[in-house]
Subunit: 378 residues, 2 copies
């Protein structure tokens, strides 16, 4: 039996103000094609289907359309759980009706204890949970932390193990030892406490969601699929894709890459290089680009100059900080007086709000400055 393992679709997510719907539709189309080409027997979506607990109508419509395509049109079984970004209640609407077409979506801990037969395997779908839910479910006040909750859940799951089957857990949590931890002592990522890997030893495969990189964890039997789309600059160097898992050869699972419409890239360099055609002609300038500028000096109209070359800048940082133009000596005051008003305003706005002006704001400000200057008042 063959599974396609994906997670963390985060439908509705934006990237520094840019709508990712087209990226997500593009990734979805590839996932659907892979599922067909590989003739998978089921698709695992390990949580965070939506980006937020209260998704917009547009997101609701988009996810519904994707799930219909896979399950009703392509007739592929779906095994999904809610993640920490999903509302369990909202995601569970209609779930009882979905069973007829083998679309399983588990949103409550209690549902994890009923295995789903999948050829030679049993699938256990354990949604994201808070320890208090498990405490209530077992009526056991000694369950305070996520590892205790997990231990109690897994103990009960194991009572449902059929000895002649493989046992696959689908879940959404932060596994201890994952690469995103800064150190062994850091216990939470994204608000989720770490679950010790040793608790998972009795499963043949653990299909995880939550961390967005497929390499967050190196374990023969436990893996994050990662998200299908890059959702931040920190994911710039990650490969995105899905896992193809054959239940009779789990350790040789394959990662199938997805191609983005626009990639996410981090550039670092000085202004002169970045605006030099010899440099930027080697770059996909339409990508979502974060710039780490090495200059320390003030550069008039910095952002608008960069945007002319890189239209989708999502972050602009100064690698080495920059010369403080606001300390009160004569030279700085002169600098300020000689500065381009637009540049001054942009820098002031960024310093105060930690955000860049939007294209609309920029245009409005430029028009205003222009009309004021025209009036001969400046």
């Amino acid at each position: 039996m063959r599974l396609l393992h994906t997670a963390d679709w985060h439908i509705g997510r934006r990237l520094h103000g840019f709508d990712l719907e087209l990226e997500q539709r593009n990734a979805f189309a590839q996932i659907e094609q892979i599922a067909k080409d590989e003739q998978v027997d089921g698709i695992v979506i390990a949580g965070d289907l939506y980006d937020r607990t209260l998704p917009s109508e547009k997101s609701v419509g988009l996810l519904n359309q994707m799930l219909k395509q896979l399950n009703l049109t392509d007739q592929i079984p779906i095994y999904a759980i809610s993640g920490n970004h999903d509302s369990a209640t909202r995601l569970s609407i209609g779930s009882e009706w979905f069973l007829d077409t083998n679309f399983y979506i588990h949103t409550r801990v209690a549902q994890a204890f009923t295995p789903i037969e999948f050829g030679d395997s049993q699938l256990f779908l354990l949604p994201y949970f808070e320890p208090f839910e498990v405490r209530q479910y077992f009526g056991d006040d000694s369950i305070q932390h996520v590892d205790e909750a997990f231990a109690a859940i897994l103990k009960q799951i194991k009572t449902r193990f059929a000895p002649d089957k493989k046992h696959i857990l689908i879940s959404h949590f932060f596994a201890a030892g994952s690469q995103t931890t800064d150190s062994e002592t850091k216990l939470t990522v994204g608000g989720l406490a770490a679950v010790p890997l040793k608790l998972l030893a009795d499963f043949d495969y653990v299909a995880l969601g939550h961390l967005h990189g497929k390499d967050a964890l190196r374990d023969p039997k436990v893996q994050y699929s990662g998200s299908p789309v890059k959702f931040s600059l920190s994911e710039a160097n990650q490969e995105k894709g899905v896992l193809i898992v054959d239940t009779d050869d789990i350790e040789h699972r394959r990662f199938v890459k997805l191609s983005p419409l626009k990639d996410v890239k981090q550039l670092r360099g000085d202004f002169e290089t970045l605006v030099n055609p010899n440099y930027y002609q080697t770059i996909n300038r339409g990508d979502y680009i974060g710039i780490n500028l090495t200059n320390r000096n003030q550069i008039p109209n910095l952002m608008s100059q960069l945007r002319k070359i890189y239209p989708n800048i999502i972050e602009l940082k100064r690698a080495n900080g920059y010369d403080d133009i606001l300390h009160y000596d004569g030279e700085s005051a002169t600098n300020i007086r000689q500065s381009d008003p637009m540049d001054l305003m942009q820098r002031f706005y960024e310093q105060v709000t930690k955000q860049r002006l939007t294209a609309d704001q920029l245009k409005w400000a430029q028009d205003t400055l222009h009309s004021v200057s025209d009036g001969g008042k400046l």
Copy 2:
């Protein structure tokens, strides 16, 4: 074939701050029992399942539970449409999966043109719509108003009429001639333009939602079921219930009443009567009560005195207005000085905000006044 016709459940609705969940659960339990006792072949819900386009998680869970109970547990087909209070997109989640169990929920105009076979009848499920959707659907810019949109829709629906069947329309709109109109010239109720009844002449039955009273319209073939619960004081005198419609004897459809846990009542009288045990012992004082007070004079601690007797007051009006205590002559000033501070504050709050203090606010104000007085400062 027998239909139960209901509408306007408005799950999530509040009555002047009171949660109606228990009332709605109680009405639902009765509806379910009626459906079983009458052995109906289907349940029509003619729009406004939710009270708002963005229902709370609690409302989502509650409606899902009710629909599951009727459709999956009791195995009764459901024929539902979205109303003007519903979000078509949110309500349509999962709708394609629901078809296997004969749970039809139509949220787009395009769905109205596919009749659903129902024994000797065809059901056409036409959701609430805005004229622009119909203009787009037909690509006809001459469709500007709701009556034009309706005419175009019904013309197309009629092309789908099977001649040997009865034709039943399920819809959610304001029918011209309905009783809530103040006059023939008033064209909208609840934001919906009126649809002329003559457009509906070719149907054997039109099961409507939108108006909350079953008697809003008197027509042998067109009827509002009304809501199962009273949602405002203006509905105090309405009977609430559901319609049982036999498709072979539509004109003799029956109205089956529902009993509320707490009724909604309007009382009118002077303060002395209202607080007199000989009077109020004849009243279900636990009902949701609107009081129309005939006194014009100032009454210290009016609301708290009334609430001691009628705990669920949802409105307090002065039938004849009241003596203005805020004009600036000596007597009024004396009145003000002699007034109970709580009463003054409540009246001031009501004059300014047009709302009454909540129980929490009242308690907080009383505690504060009490502690200030204790300190000897007043």
